[in-house]
């Protein structure tokens, strides 16, 4: 099928190289670590006084994404534990901040990554920890 070969050579069979999904997860977390980190840096350095809570939350979110990324990259038992803790914090964070930002918008004059359950980022911040936990769970039981 020529149209299929344009999609690339056949991949190695599943299981031959474990961790493909984890590497996709690493990519997603890496992007969010960069995006949240850059956003927090700009917010904190140029207009910290306007909305300190929101900007500190941005920085916290960035830190959590960085820790999760590092944990996923390192792998092994330690790495998985680190990632598991970071992703759990992330899930709690996005749920709590998302709820608070809708209940009490005045407390969040400027957007954070987690505002409105991550609506500014197409709800990826809400979906990402769920995907992360599912992937870690699958990998955990597979060993």
């Amino acid at each position: 099928m020529p149209d299929r070969s344009a999609l690339g050579p056949a991949a190695e069979p599943a299981g031959a190289t474990p961790g493909g999904p984890v590497r996709v997860l690493v990519l997603l977390y890496g992007i969010f670590a960069l995006a949240a980190g850059a956003r927090a840096t700009v917010q904190l350095s140029t207009r910290f006084a306007e909305a300190p809570t929101a900007y500190l939350l941005s920085a916290l979110a960035a830190a959590v994404y960085v820790v999760a990324t590092v944990g996923l990259v390192r792998g092994g038992r330690g790495g998985r534990w680190t990632a598991l803790v970071a992703i759990t914090v992330e899930l709690v964070g996005v749920l709590v901040v998302g709820t608070l930002s809708l209940v009490d918008p005045d407390a969040f004059p400027d957007e954070t990554v987690w505002s409105g359950y991550g609506r500014g980022y197409f709800y990826v911040p809400l979906v990402l920890p769920v995907l992360g936990l599912l992937t870690l769970r699958r990998r955990g039981t597979a060993r």
Binding site: G8, V24, L27, V42
Partner: protein, 121 residues
């Protein structure tokens, strides 16, 4: 930073996202189609950066210049990083890597347009 260019970039990014997902579903790595798509995407992004640079040199600057420049330069790296990463990925998830990179670039150009239209005044 014009709407037609952003729309064109989004279309290319969208097609590349679908191609990437198609590879993963077909159990394949990435091929010539993906490389051409990523090349076209990168060319559009470079064109966009050029247009923005010329406009900014001419005195039109967005209100939030640091963020704008961050996105403008950052988005250029996304397809390149996506291709390098996907080529190093031996499993069928290579396509998903390209898809994620393309979708990211597609979203970033809209954020760029938004930042550009908030011209400092």
């Amino acid at each position: 930073m014009t709407l037609p260019l952003v729309v064109a970039t989004t279309v290319v990014a969208g097609v590349l996202t679908l191609l990437g997902l198609a590879s993963t579903l077909a159990g394949r790595r990435i091929g010539l189609l993906h490389l051409s798509g990523a090349g076209l995407l990168e060319a559009l992004l470079v064109l966009q950066a050029g247009i923005a640079a010329v406009a900014m040199a001419g005195g039109t600057t967005p209100a939030d210049s640091p963020t704008f420049l961050g996105y403008l330069v950052g988005v250029l790296l996304v397809p390149v990083a996506g291709v390098l990463w996907a080529r190093a990925e031996p499993s069928r998830w290579a396509g998903t890597v390209i898809a994620v990179a393309a979708a990211t670039a597609g979203v970033m150009v809209w954020r760029l347009l938004q930042l550009w239209e908030a011209t400092g005044a």
